[in-house]
Amino acid sequence: MVKYGVVVFPGSNCDRDCFWAAHDMMGQKAEFIWHESKSIDKYDVIIIPGGFSYGDYLRAGAIARFARVMDNIHTFAGKRNKLVFGICNGFQILLESQLLPGAMLTNKTLKFICKYTNLQVENNSTPFTSECSREQILRIPIAHQEGNYYCDEKTLNSLVKNDQVVFRYCDEKGNIDDSTNPNGSLYNIAGICNKRRNVLGMMPHPERAMTERLGSTDGAFIFRSITEYVKKSL
């Protein structure tokens, strides 16, 4: 069985949802990891969940980056076959920790936005998207105030060149333009990975799209991809 570890910072609030998605929905092993924890090597996948770590005071993710567990996640991410998955606030923390390039600005609307969005899968050869087809459209909700991805031009060019842009906001037909961009993200970016493809950050919440009753099962594509990838590498 795949071992998921879900990090809990003071202020994390999607930790239990991510646990549910991995444990109850995917039927895998899952445990919570306290933010002061040192031993995380036993896990195959570390999820940094959404929420408001340290109240998002100062800047979203800025303080969580200094938690003890983050040093260990840096080392963890450098190892073979280990995956780090940041969702929403988790993505913000990965950016602040420089595990992924760029930064988050306040949404162009200046408001918190919670709603379903459509994402186009730009790269399906990552451990997080292998069960998706290329250009598949996933219906997954967002819920954030600082999800307006920004990086300088050089970084963007390199992200595109290296196929690190994994998800982009689109409409239900796959059109990508300003009108399908909910928060002002550069290049409609909803999720990116590192060059090695084992660290992924995304603003939308796949753990909220796991059953028909909740309105979509598209989040399961991502959790299934992760699970299958780890199983193969075990």
Partner: protein, 756 residues
């Protein structure tokens, strides 16, 4: 007894504390001497309307509050109902009107914080929040200041704590121009064996303080909530507390951990009147006393005295009674969450509240007259209401016969769809995280919210409702309808309404006409709730909601909670599903047009008569719809309320888009001898629009016939237009509605959203 030397108790000081002369006489009798300044402050807070319910208690006693589901009725931090499993559901609604009118962001945010604490101090993890908001006209400058602030405040707090805001209502009426209403409700789930109450016991047990530091914010907030908003009180901005949702989230997790570890006897939020009310109430409920040492209370500001510490309403603080010898363990759990726990006092045998400061006693008051409304010296107000003059005026009701019949129903429908109280509020609720905790089955903007409960065979449905205009025009009937409609909304989701909480927002109760409104509304609510077998389990009264032009519409907001039972968890959403589905109208349309949104929006009239309601019919209509949903016969169910049948049909056509489904049209044929405007836009109660697949339609029709519920087939789902043919028997000329769903969506989604 040390004197509080710097403050002499003069008649002015007594008056400043809001005491009526006879109340101060009572204090003298209770104390047998002149009270100290600290004691005066404590009396003032505990006897404020907000804490004492001195004007409302005798009336509130008339509500039904027992029933097979009730585990905890009114009088605790929150009420609790059984689910028939190992779990129970705790919930409560509370107002934060005056703080929000002064400082909308912080006022609304702290309102959400307070109600969350009321629920998790019962041991329940909050799973959903709702709200009921009322502002003046959508065009007014004050609304433009208040609305975005209130919405941002609710979002700021609820989103951070991670409790989804799943349902609510936002209403615009001139009457709320100077006194907006912000009512917040939270629902939590608790393991029955872990329910904890705010009842102190065990002489010698430590009283501990956890959470944020005490500052001077909000001193006399409870008294503030118990006075009319004047220019002067508007200046009292220091009465507004600042919200820290991150602290709340830590407190929430720490409290639930304390409960898991079974280390506490009792816990209570320091809400209105802070340490004063939590200390007094816990002691009173346990028949014991509490002794507190002010020097040990963690303070944020320098040189605070006992008076300020006892009355501070700094947020995110709680008071608990530890089990013997568990202090260290409590401290350890709090430290894990980066918080402190400090012993500030102990439980004592004699039932008194004793306050120490710098080694001296500065207050020593018997607890009973502070908290027990049955105590002979408690300032309970026995009042008699007088029927308000405005209700005796003939012009309060309109004679429909004097009005020409509407010859442009399509134009009227379009007007209504974009009008403030009908149009979509998605720009409001999209600012709330309504999906966190992955259990939100039906999104905001529906009749009722449905919350899944994982690993159990039930779901929770809830709806927050009140039509203040109805209550203004006919307090008794309006009260009944508030209960009926909230229950109807819950039933439309397939859930059985079980119990409710209420937030009774009224004007100044010392005015006999306002008091009459209050009594009548409560009576109407009680009568309706008795028939529906839905007792009240918690609530709050907010009086003194007045502006320059007088009192607000009496607004007894109802938060109804129900269950969807069964392994299949069958539920319904309000919108039309598939081409060819049969549309039924459950219930009977009467020739009623009074008090309607149509009269206000299209005709510019606010007048009765309020639609009639027969609770037996109401119960039968709700029951048949629940049965139909449970049997899997019904695909959609939508309550008919503001805007009548036509607006409800339009909503059925277009609200699927909120759930990612497409809009779909309908062809409806109405034959009636009722004039078309009343037929289309009248707000006759006890009506629900349901749809069934072709085969199931027959079965449902039989089911309804057997239960003797009036049911009429009125059309079919399909196409991309809403077409309504009205065949009015008394005139041959047909009046039609024929409008594309696209047009309806455009009107409906811009009416309010463009302002938010």
């Amino acid at each position: 007894m040390a004197e509080y030397k710097s403050f002499e108790i003069t008649p002015e000081v007594v008056a400043e504390h809001g005491f009526k002369p006879e109340e101060y006489e009572n204090i003298l009798k209770i104390m047998g001497r002149i009270p100290t300044y600290v004691e005066l402050g404590i009396f003032s807070a505990m006897w404020s309307e907000h804490c004492s319910y001195k004007h409302s208690k005798p009336t509130l006693g008339k509500f039904p509050h027992r029933g097979k589901y009730v585990i905890q009725g009114p009088g605790e931090n929150a009420g609790i109902i059984d689910t028939g499993t190992d779990l129970a559901v705790a919930f409560k609604i509370e107002s934060h009107n005056h703080p929000s009118a002064v400082e909308p962001f912080q006022g609304a945010a702290t309102g959400v914080g307070g109600i969350l604490r009321d629920v998790f101090t019962m041991g329940a993890r909050p799973v959903a929040s709702c709200n009921s908001l009322r502002f003046g006209s959508l065009d007014s400058a004050n609304t433009h200041r208040l609305l975005p602030g209130v919405v941002k405040g609710i979002a700021f707090y609820g989103n951070c704590v991670g409790v989804p805001t799943v349902a609510g209502e936002t209403v615009f009426e001139d009457t709320y121009e100077e006194n907006c209403l912000v009512n917040a409700m939270t629902i939590g789930i608790v393991e029955k064996k872990k329910i904890i109450k705010a009842v102190a016991s065990g002489v010698g047990n430590s009283v501990m303080y956890i959470g944020a530091l005490t500052g001077r914010d909000g001193i006399h907030g409870a008294t503030f909530a118990s006075a009319e908003l004047t220019e002067e009180t508007r200046e009292k901005r220091s009465s507004v507390q600042v919200a820290d949702p991150f602290m709340e989230k830590l407190l929430l997790e720490a409290t639930l951990e304390l409960i898991d570890e079974n280390v506490m006897v009792a816990i209570q939020d320091m809400g209105a009147a802070g340490l004063t009310s939590s200390g007094t109430e816990m002691a009173y409920r346990g028949g014991v006393g509490i002794e507190l040492d002010m020097d040990r209370v963690p303070q944020r500001e320098k040189n605070m005295n006992a008076y300020e510490i006892m009355l501070s309403e700094s947020q995110e603080r709680m008071c608990l009674v530890a089990k013997k010898g568990k202090e260290k363990q409590i401290e350890k759990i709090l430290n894990k969450w980066g918080l402190h726990a400090v012993v500030i006092g102990r439980v004592i045998k004699k039932p008194r509240l004793v306050i120490w400061e710098k080694g001296k006693i500065v207050a020593d008051i018997p607890v009973a007259p502070l908290a027990d409304s049955k105590h002979p010296l408690f300032p309970l107000k026995k009042q008699k209401g007088i029927k308000p003059a405005y209700l005796k005026d003939k012009s309060i009701n309109i004679d429909p016969e004097s009005m020409p019949v509407d010859d442009d129903p399509e134009g009227s429908l379009k007007k209504l769809m974009g009008s403030p109280n009908v149009a979509s509020k998605s720009n409001i609720w999209e600012q709330y995280d309504h999906m966190v905790q992955t259990a939100t089955v039906t999104l905001p903007g529906s009749d009722a919210a449905v919350i899944d409960v994982k690993n159990r065979d039930f779901m929770i449905a809830t709806s927050v409702d009140c039509n203040g205009r109805y209550v203004y025009l006919d307090p008794y009937k309006g009260g009944m309808i508030a209960i009926a409609e909230s229950a109807r909304n819950v039933s439309c989701s397939g859930a059985e309404p079980v119990a409710f909480t209420n937030c009774l927002n009224f004007g100044n109760p010392e005015d006999p006409e306002i008091f009459w409104q209050f009594e009548q509304a409560v009576k109407g609510m009680s009568d309706a709730a008795t028939v529906l077998k839905t007792p009240v389990i918690s609530g709050n009264v907010s009086f003194y909601n007045e502006g320059k032009k007088g009192a607000i519409y009496p607004t007894p907001t109802v938060g109804m909670v129900g269950y969807i039972f069964g392994k299949e968890k069958r539920y319904a959403r309000q919108y039309f599903k598939e081409q060819g589905d049969v549309i039924f109208l459950v219930g009977e349309t009467k020739n009623e047009i009074g008090a309607s949104e149509y009269l206000k929006v299209v005709r510019g009239e606010i007048a009765g008569p309020v639609p009639d309601i027969n609770m037996k019919t109401e119960a039968a209509v709700q029951k048949i719809v629940r049965k139909g949903i449970k049997a899997g016969l019904i695909k959609s169910a939508h309550d008919i309320s503001k805007g009548g049948l036509a607006v409800a049909l339009a909503e059925c056509c277009i609200t699927g888009t909120l759930h990612g489904d497409r809009a779909i049209g309908a062809l409806v044929e109405l034959q009636s001898d009722i004039r078309p405007d009343a037929l289309l836009f009248g707000e006759t109660q006890s009506r629900i629009i349901v749809t069934c697949g072709k085969d199931n339609a027959r079965v449902f029709r039989k089911m309804a016939a057997k239960d003797k519920v009036v049911l009429s087939e009125i059309g079919k789902v399909g196409g991309n237009r809403l077409i309504v043919h009205v065949d009015w028997s008394s005139q041959s000329k047909c009046r039609n509605i024929n409008v594309t769903t696209e047009e309806l969506i455009r009107l409906w989604s811009t009416g309010v959203n463009k302002y938010v």
